[in-house]
């Protein structure tokens, strides 16, 4: 019983002191670090690439906004020209209308009639989207997260009550 116990102890001792085991431990640790760095790097690359794509889309959309604004202004001016006094008068003449003779105008009292008022051109302000509810951890890049973490980390010994 004692012999077998001694044998096991010697084997464990030999195993613990085997050089290849120590090498594998080092190698494992090294590979773990490499894999960790690779994962972080790929994550960072992915986030950066997505940010770049989004940035490019923002730049394109900014250009699109300007183009649409120009188109809107163009369309509005063309519409105004089509509804201009000269165009409307020409259209009215073509349809057989004639300027009213003041002597034949008849006024009828209509109870409750309200005279036309000047146009109100103000439009209701566009609805502003609510503040984003997604936590910053899901939207910020790694660098931004690190910067925020460093900025918000409280100084040691502060902020704690006894």
């Amino acid at each position: 019983m004692q012999i077998s116990s001694l044998r096991v102890n010697s084997l464990v001792h030999a195993y613990r002191q085997a050089p290849w085991r120590i090498q594998r431990q080092w190698l494992g640790g090294f590979l773990l670090a490499v894999v960790g760095i690779a994962m972080i790097a790929s994550l960072y690359l992915d986030v950066t690439a997505q940010a770049a794509i989004s940035g490019r889309q923002i730049q394109n959309l900014a250009g699109d906004i300007i183009a649409i604004q120009h188109n809107n202004a163009d369309a509005e001016t063309q519409l105004a020209a089509l509804n201009g006094t000269a165009a409307m008068e020409e259209r009215a003449n073509r349809l057989g209308y004639q300027p009213v003779d003041p002597t034949v105008v008849q006024y009828i009292v209509v109870p409750g009639y309200a005279a036309p008022q000047p146009a109100i051109l103000a439009v209701a302000p566009a609805l502003k989207p609510a503040a984003p509810s997604i936590a910053p951890e899901y939207t910020e890049s790694l660098i931004e997260w690190l910067q925020r973490a460093l900025r918000t980390k409280p100084a040691a010994g502060l902020g704690r009550q006894p």
Partner: protein, 582 residues
């Protein structure tokens, strides 16, 4: 055996480590090489682009929401010189489509100024022409074999807004115009240039997509809503044009104003121009004061000014409507003899008769009875010689000589009373007469009804410019003027509406005294008398069909007043009074 494995592992690990370290070292070497410094400088040059962001100029609407001044897209056509591979083809295409000289364009492209990378070939190109050129560029590119440069490569189109006036010359005297540099001239465009134009921003915009958030947002210019009624404006301009032709007048002005709010409902002046073709300005106008005669060109108005003299006399208690006056046809004041317009003696008159027959002698007597201090005090309170403060660029103040001025003589007290020796603008007289048409309070004229910014509309409230006379005086004189028109069966009367007003026929001062046979014909009037909704001023310059305001300006007033009643929805007096009954 295990030892040989260990050696191999070490060898592989060492090799890999060597390769890794070598890569890192190489990276460091490349990054710190002289070439890297050159690339860094080049990258820095392309990291940002200097751009000027022009806010879209605010639009201008009439009171009913009709667009009077907007914006349209025009193009800047240019070439990126490094991308041009066939300058001859580019110059020919641009020259043919845009009507430019191809040889000149080719010369410019072949000898650009030093360090120039982008060259503007044409600017303010109409969108249709730019589109045609773009289509040609696309078609050429499609026909070009893959891997080769298109003959029209390097051509770039940059859109930007330009002022546009969809109504053409309508209300151009009120609107003014905008130069290509974006600066407003005359009228609303100049007066509110800062608000309309907004503030251009010039910034270095990063090309790095990570910095897309730095693209500036430029707020557009403020939208303005005018007091002008487009339909009434068009009708008034038409009446003015017809009247100039009918009466052979050199020029003319018609202004329609709301006497209660001071809102300018229509303002027509001749000549007019299409503000979209502002480059014609110098060929149409000899000087700036001709752009809008209603505010910029003071003149001796003649008898229309008698309403102010009479208002002052009534208000000061110098006369009443029934004060008798024996007109002998002449009166001597300050050593000079004053005569009536027809050199006749009109015999016994009251003050209504003096206004009805427009007697210079009577009004000269009235002013002398008031005394110089009282008379000029009232003229000053009526705003003569002062700016009205109207929100249109280029207003002139006119001139009212007063005792103490080097060029004032005692006879001026008499001549000023009937509108000679004093210069005013039509708008000044309208403002002064608003006290008579209203309840004694003088209203400041204005052309801006409201401003629209960030979806909110800010209205411009009416502003009073003092109370030169009492409400009682105003009502009394308004009745006197209405009666005088009715007794005279004036050409200014319109069926169904009671109006008040006064004609004016003024000689034109020249270098050597007053011109013979040339006059300025004027009329100022308002209606309905019991509840004035409009005031109209008519000025016809040098009418040849008749020199008299009663035969030229008065019928023009009637035409405008009749149009105003229809377009402003003013029922005849009997209907209106019926509606007002409880």
């Amino acid at each position: 055996m295990r030892q040989s494995y260990a050696w191999r592992s070490l060898l592989i690990a060492g090799l890999l480590a060597f390769v890794g370290v070598s890569i890192v070292l190489q990276i460091l070497r490349i990054q710190n090489s002289p070439e890297a410094a050159i690339f860094r400088v080049q990258a820095a040059e392309y990291a940002t682009v200097l751009q000027t962001f022009y806010p879209e100029r605010g639009e201008i609407y009439d009171r009913n929401g009709h667009l009077l001044a907007g914006n349209k897209t025009v193009y800047e056509v240019g070439v990126q010189l490094s991308e041009v591979h066939d300058p001859r083809a580019v110059s020919l295409a641009v020259g043919a489509e845009l009507g430019l000289n191809a040889d000149t364009l080719y010369g410019q492209m072949m000898s650009p100024p030093a360090k120039m990378q982008y060259m503007v070939l044409a600017n303010y190109v109409d969108s249709a022409k730019a589109a045609a050129l773009q289509q040609l560029q696309i078609a050429t590119a499609q026909k070009t074999p893959s891997g080769q440069f298109s003959s029209l490569s390097g051509l770039h189109f940059t859109p930007h807004p330009q002022r546009s006036y969809p109504e053409g010359s309508l209300a151009s005297n009120v609107l003014g115009f905008v130069s290509r540099e974006g600066r407003g001239y005359f009228g609303i465009e100049e007066k509110y240039n800062t608000l309309l134009a907004g503030t251009p921003i010039q910034v270095w915009v990063p090309t790095d997509p990570h910095k897309a958030g730095d693209i500036p947002r430029v707020p557009d210019g403020i939208t303005l809503v005018l007091t002008i009624n487009r339909d009434l404006q068009a009708a008034v301009e038409q009446i003015l044009d017809d009247s100039l032709e009918k009466y052979g007048a050199a020029h003319g002005t018609i202004v329609v104003m709301d006497p209660k709010t001071g809102e300018l409902l229509a303002l027509a002046s001749s000549p007019r121009m299409d503000p979209g073709q502002f480059w014609n300005y110098t060929s149409i106008y000899k000087n700036a004061s001709e752009f809008d005669r209603a505010i910029s060109m003071p003149y001796e108005p003649g008898s229309v000014l008698k309403i102010l003299t009479m208002a002052g006399a009534l208000d000061s208690g110098t006369v009443t409507p029934n004060t008798p006056f024996l007109d002998t046809g002449a009166i001597m004041v300050g050593g000079a003899t004053i005569h009536n317009w027809d050199d006749a003696a009109w015999g016994p008159q009251d003050m209504i008769g003096c206004l009805q027959h427009s007697l210079n002698v009577c009004l000269a007597w009235v002013s002398t009875q008031m005394g110089a201090n009282t008379f000029y005090s009232y003229m000053n309170r009526f705003g003569l010689g002062h700016l009205t403060g109207v929100d249109l660029a280029g207003e002139a103040a006119g001139r009212l000589k007063v005792p103490g001025d080097a060029d004032w003589y005692p006879v001026d007290l008499a001549t000023n009373a009937f509108g000679q020796g004093v210069s005013v603008t039509p708008l000044q007289l309208l403002m002064a007469a608003s006290a008579i048409a209203g309840d004694g309070r003088m209203i400041a004229p204005h052309a801006l009804y409201a401003m629209v910014r960030d979806g909110r509309e800010y209205k411009v409230p009416p502003q009073y410019a003092g109370s030169p006379i009492t409400g009682t005086t105003a009502q009394t004189e308004s009745q006197m003027l209405a009666i005088s028109l009715e007794k005279e069966s004036s050409n200014a009367l319109i069926p169904g509406y009671r109006v008040a007003g006064k004609t004016g026929t003024a000689q034109i001062p020249g270098d050597y005294g007053y011109e013979v046979g040339a006059t300025n014909a004027s009329f100022i009037g308002w209606g309905p008398v019991d509840d004035p909704k409009f005031m109209v001023y008519v000025w016809l310059e040098r009418p040849s069909a008749s020199i008299w305001g009663s035969q030229t300006a008065a019928p023009v007033f009637a035409l405008v007043a009749q149009k105003a009643t229809i377009l402003l929805n003013i029922p005849p007096d009997d209907i209106r009074q019926e509606i007002a009954k409880p």
